[in-house]
Amino acid sequence: MKKIKKKQGVTSLEMKLFPYLLILPNLFIFATFIAVPALFGAYFSLNKWSGMSAPVFIGLDNYVRAFHDVKFWQSFGRTLVYVLISLPFIMGIPLFLANLMIKEIRAKGMFRAIFYWPSMISYIIVGISFKFMFGDNTGIINYLLSLMGKAKVEWLTQGSTAMFVVILATIWARTGFYMVTYISGLQSIPLSYYEAAEVDGANPVQRFFKITLPLLKPTTFLVLILSFIDLFKAYGLVLALTKGGPGTSTKFVVQYIYEAAFDGKREMGYASALSMILLVVMATFTLLQFKVNKGGEIQ
């Protein structure tokens, strides 16, 4: 008679260990490329360091200087303006598109791909492409305007229009990504709620505001946090599109920090201090959002 090998169950220790093993690769990457450099950044922020010679400890001098650095706070202010204007569009347009994309329409997959495709393009390419379109003298849009007998628009030569183009490029580049996030959120809402509301006589607008929006709160909160951080870190797209110009009209805080580190006087220590300040400000904003939105919980 064959012995039947008894199948062993999963032990309690294995149950506890296994999830950590699964996240270990990501933790390793996070530690190597984010956490450790951040700690080094904190260390260098207390030093005067050009990147070539040895760091010299100067305590909090870099932070004192940063708080008096008018240009840094001006770039911070510009970034805030950019974020506050872009955020409603980056949250609203993807939600609108997601609502369309979960309906049963023909070629739904193709439309989803078309809307998602821009988010797969590098920010640098997006910036170059928009520059190709909006260039004052070499851009397609002004060329088309000239063919129609209209005066050309100084898209990238005026501060306000340059900011408009940067915001437009940002919205175009990020809409698809957040649309997909919203789609997954919308699909998790039970259809029975809508059916019950329809039976009760609720119209589509009422269903949206009374059912969809409240039940979408965790997803909305996620999009808010991700897009806020993403917008605050804007650099590649702006660099390719305007290089922070005209003048400093679209020079945002990350570009200012980059230039402090790598252009001009090469003050890596000072730039590290500016990065730490940015980290604290963004962490504070994020925590505030957590508190106000109660962590995205549905109430």
Binding site: L21, T32, M52, S53, L156, T242
Partner: protein
């Protein structure tokens, strides 16, 4: 079974990442060198620790504007034929990234053996370069072979940080077809040189009748625009302190602003990020205030119209802004002596002549003053003449230690604000004066 497979996959992934993220073989270290690039170099004449039969690899960071990469590769091929145990790798890096690339390599403990530099790059990196005086027996004899006016570009705080491969001159490249169409003749000899007012009048005529949209493009508000500054009699630095805030400078700034206000120079180039090279190449502009390094680029890429080089106008002075490229070697590479040997070869008379003729560059060597260029001989005579009539302030400013690092960004930003009408020329001059004081502290 599934558990074992999952665990195996997880550990394989971790192992693969660890191997993938690890650094390559460490470069061989020269005897007595602890690999720290900023510490003093070994004594002169020190040899690499590599065995004579071992292949020595020299990585050279390189940027290019035109055909000089191919020209340098030919020099490398010749050198490698003479020195079979040496291999020189050209690693191309965009110009804007060169300083960062050098810095990151030095900080990372793997400095390149060699790099192509400009005076701006050396201004940022001279701490990390070798002092060639410690590797060459008769450094004074070597330096005497090069134009004295550019020594301060690569001899920084008495340290011979590099040797020059070419000297550049800012100059005026013009759209011959547009000028001919407008019936405007450019100065044929230095005696006919226009004043700036006469030049602007000519540009306005070419803009109106020459089939171009704009009169002039200027590459940037710092190095290129400083040519106008020197022509108006201004300068950035004096012996004892900044000298930017002067009537001559304000006159140059005011004149420049007028060029933009009258749309002779398009604001979109400085304010909107449009590339002046592209605009000139596309035939939209009458003249390009650029320099001799664009010769091969325009020779190879401009097919729709004829172009040429003409004398720049004058105000109080004639002047160009000299520049140039050099080859520098870095401490801590482990192949310091071999790197210096290559620099000496590449900058020797014969090799340098070959390189400059092929690249259409001006040679910095006194014994290569007259080279037989296959293209644009007459243009080189114009550039050489511009250099001959360049004021000493130009090389004093741009060769001053840390000048480019301290001045470039504030100068660019201040000019943008001035062109946009947010500050006056007087305000910009005063602001820059304060910025430049840092150089004297």
């Amino acid at each position: 079974m599934k558990k074992i497979l999952s665990l195996t996959l997880v550990f394989t992934l971790i192992l693969a990442m660890s191997v993938g993220c690890s650094s390559g073989d460490a470069p061989s270290q020269a005897a007595g060198n602890d690999g720290s690039a900023h510490e003093s170099s070994p004594a002169g004449g020190a040899e690499s620790s590599a065995d004579p039969g071992e292949k020595v690899v020299l990585d050279m960071l390189w940027f290019a504007d035109g055909a000089e990469t191919e020209a340098m590769q030919h020099i490398i091929d010749d050198y490698q034929a003479l020195n079979p145990n040496v291999q020189v790798n050209l690693l191309e890096v965009p110009y804007d990234e060169m300083t960062n690339k050098i810095m990151m390599s030095v900080v990372g403990g793997e400095p390149p053996a060699l790099a192509r530099t400009t005076e701006s790059i050396l201004s940022a990196c001279y701490d990390a370069t070798l002092d060639l005086a410690e590797y060459v027996d008769d450094i004074d004899g070597v330096l005497a072979q090069f134009m004295p006016s550019i020594h301060n570009y690569f001899v920084i705080n008495d340290k011979v940080t590099a040797l020059p491969t070419d000297v550049t001159a800012n100059g005026m490249i013009y759209n011959k077809t547009a000028f001919d169409k407008a019936g405007v003749t450019v100065p044929a000899t230095p005696d006919d040189i226009w004043t700036w007012d006469e030049f602007v009048t000519a540009l306005e005529k070419v803009k109106a009748d020459g089939g171009v949209q704009f009169g002039m493009v200027i590459d940037n508000p710092s190095h290129r625009w400083s040519t106008m500054l020197y022509q108006f009699g201004g300068r950035f630095l004096g012996e004892d302190g900044p000298a930017f805030n002067s009537p001559e400078t304000i006159q140059a700034l005011t004149f420049t602003k007028e060029l933009f206000d009258k749309e002779i120079v398009p604001k979109s180039t400085w304010l909107g990020g449009e590339d002046p090279n592209n605009m000139f190449r596309s035939g939209q502009v009458a003249v390009h205030l650029s320099g001799n390094w664009m010769m091969t680029n325009y020779r190879d890429n401009i097919k729709d119209f004829e172009w040429g080089v003409t004398y720049m106008p004058k105000a109080k002075n004639r002047s160009s802004t000299p520049g140039g490229k050099q080859l520098a070697a870095f401490g801590g590479s482990g192949v310091e002596q071999e790197a210096v040997d290559f620099i000496l070869y590449a900058t020797s008379q014969e090799a340098n002549a070959k390189y400059c003729v092929e690249s259409l560059f001006l040679s910095p060597r006194l014994d290569n003053a007259k080279l037989d260029y296959p293209f644009g001989k007459e243009y080189f005579e114009v550039f050489a003449n511009e250099l001959e009539h360049t004021v000493p302030d130009a090389s004093f400013d741009w060769g001053y230690p840390d000048f480019a690092g301290v001045a470039r960004t504030p100068q660019n930003e201040g000019m943008y604000e001035m062109i946009a009408g947010n500050i006056t020329p007087e305000q910009h001059a005063a602001n820059m004066e304060k910025v430049l004081e840092e150089l004297y502290q």
